[in-house]
């Protein structure tokens, strides 16, 4: 079983302008994009949002096909949402079969929701496609640092994420190893009903937990030996700084949000 082949996140390596933006810019930009999607109330507005997104995708060099792959995982969710909207919206009846009816308003709303969801998912995948998980963690730490005074442990959370990312492959290896060891002793992970299979996982999970705790103890000692004592007085090698590109990106995002608000207020489309 090749558990190890699981790719983590979905980073698409590249050197584009989008890739080299500060992670904070991309995080804030994504939030603004999502906000715009919820402000916009017309298909015309969505078209503009989609064009903006397409421009970013082209600039980043991420193949569209690659981006669309992200939709597959949530396809069921989109279909479900569209179906509910299609059949459950009251209004002018267009078509009817027994108790199921389709209304004009239903068609409109379901198309509307589906587009909004698709754009939402594509927009946020652009963040993870163009930002390494480690960089994203750094960005989150910097972004939430001001909230430290309010008791939000930004550094600790970011360190936890860094370590989690680092040890996922290690723990997968360990899982693989334990599975093989238990199978050699006659454990059965593949047959039986759901209940039996769940029970069968116990001989896997118990050693895995033990080993995770052992790794944690080792790592804590190694970190202490390397002078780790929390976020205080710590510097960073890749201190992220906003550059020209970031300011330009912020300006574009602000324009987009302004457009979304105006188009709604003034009923442009």
């Amino acid at each position: 079983m090749a558990i190890k082949d699981i790719t983590l996140g979905q980073y698409f390596p590249g050197e584009s302008a989008v890739h080299s933006l500060d992670p904070r810019t991309k995080l804030i930009g994504t939030v603004i994009f999502i906000a715009s999607l919820f402000v916009v109330d017309s298909f015309g507005g969505f078209a503009v949002c989609a064009l903006c997104l397409l421009a970013v995708v082209k600039l980043s060099g991420v193949p569209l096909r690659f981006l669309m792959r992200g939709l597959r995982a949530v396809l069921i969710l989109i279909i479900f949402t569209a179906a509910i909207n299609l059949f459950m919206t009251p209004g002018v009846e267009v078509w009817r079969l027994g108790f199921i009816k389709v209304t004009e308003e239903g068609i409109y709303r379901s198309a509307f929701m589906a587009i909004r969801l698709v754009l939402l998912i594509l927009g946020s995948s652009m963040l993870t496609l163009t930002t390494k998980p480690v960089t994203l963690t750094d960005g989150l730490e910097r972004l939430f640092r001001p909230f430290g005074k309010l008791g939000l442990p930004a550094h600790e959370l970011a360190m936890m994420m860094t370590i989690a990312l680092r040890f996922i492959p290690t723990l997968l290896d360990e899982t693989d190893r334990i599975m093989k060891a238990q199978m050699a002793r006659g454990a059965d992970f593949e047959s039986g009903n759901l209940r039996e299979r769940a029970r069968g996982l116990i001989p896997l999970l118990v050693p895995l937990f033990v080993s995770a705790f052992r790794i944690a103890a080792d790592l804590a000692m190694a970190m202490e030996a390397r002078c780790y004592r929390g976020g205080e007085g710590r510097t960073r090698m890749n201190a992220v700084e906003f550059g020209k590109g970031d300011y330009a990106a912020f300006a574009l995002c602000a324009m987009m949000l302004a457009f979304a608000i105006l188009s709604r207020k003034l009923n442009w489309f």
Partner: protein, 307 residues
């Protein structure tokens, strides 16, 4: 060649030497980097009311700056416990440990001691923090608050020193055990330590990885770093200038490796084996060949055979 004879040792930090060829007496002073005085340590008892066994039982040592010391011993002899006293990961229950003039029991000095005395652990997987090699090497300097530009220099230098510079952007899970261990060494080097403690660094590596690590360890010693190598491979101990054998939490033996390995009977007592070259030399001697005493490395043996 000028030979010196030790006439008298004043404690452990200076010696009176006599040079026969020039007929002079000189006093040589050693600068010790780590000093242990009657160090005792016991882990908390597992069972209530059972007296805790002493992991370290009155150890006094002086480690000279720039030396290469190997610490060997069977399982449970206290060698890893001892290693963790060198950088204040464990504090002595009795006696004291002085590193670079600082007491490990002084909480003010803890971090400076850990910066100056780095440590490489046994498991290559469980000591790397970040999922990018260069970020991991930067972890130490970041912790002690080095300027970002300087960190970049230190990271590049350290990665080049262990030959991992071209892998700097990779994730540790894509590296072999030996490569991971080299990254761990780079992580310690980036803090510019004076002394590096290796706690069985090769125990989980394949032969090729082991050779690489030992080469790096020897190069570091030649550069003037103090190297302390905890190991249970006698071949590795033979590379050192001084071997300390621990037995039941006490120092059982503390001399140059050729002295140790010429006493097979004693080694047996400490449950230690002979390095391959030394046992080979012994067998050759038994066959009547005059292999010189103190032949303990493969190079030494090869030199004798080719002569």
């Amino acid at each position: 060649m000028i030979y010196f004879f030790v006439i008298y040792s004043f404690g452990s930090s200076s010696q009176l030497l006599y040079c026969r060829s020039c007929d002079i007496l000189i006093v040589m002073k050693f600068e010790s980097i780590i000093q242990l005085k009657d160090v005792e340590f016991s882990y908390p008892a597992q069972v209530e009311a059972a007296a805790p066994a002493k992991a370290l039982d009155g150890i006094s040592l002086d480690i000279e700056r720039g030396s290469f010391v190997a610490i060997v011993g069977s399982n449970g002899s206290g060698k890893s416990t001892l290693a963790k006293h060198f950088n204040a990961l464990l504090l002595p229950g009795g006696g004291e440990v002085i590193v670079c003039g600082m007491k490990t029991s002084d909480p003010e000095c803890t971090w400076e001691i850990r910066r100056r005395c780095g440590m490489v652990f046994q498991n290559p997987d469980n000591q790397l923090v970040s999922s990018v090699v260069e970020d991991d090497v930067a972890f130490g300097p970041e912790n002690i608050g080095v300027e970002p530009l300087r960190i970049r220099e230190l990271v590049d230098e350290s990665l080049k020193a262990v030959g991992m510079y071209e892998h700097r952007k990779k994730g540790p899970h894509l590296l072999s055990g030996g490569q991971k261990q080299r990254v761990a060494i780079a992580g310690v080097l980036a803090m510019q330590p004076e002394c590096i403690v290796f706690d069985e660094p090769t125990a989980m590596l394949d032969p090729a990885g082991r050779r690489d690590i030992l080469k790096i360890i020897e190069a570091l010693h030649e550069e003037g770093k103090t190297v302390i190598l905890i190991t249970h491979f006698m071949e590795e101990a033979a590379l050192a200038e001084r071997v300390i054998v621990l037995e039941g939490g006490r120092v059982a033996f503390d001399e140059a490796p050729d002295k140790l390995f010429s006493r097979a009977a004693e080694l047996e007592k400490y449950k230690l084996g002979l390095p391959f070259a030394a046992s080979m030399a012994q067998k050759l001697r038994a066959l009547g060949l005059k292999v010189p005493e103190g032949t303990i490395t493969q190079e030494g043996l090869a030199d004798f055979i080719c002569r």
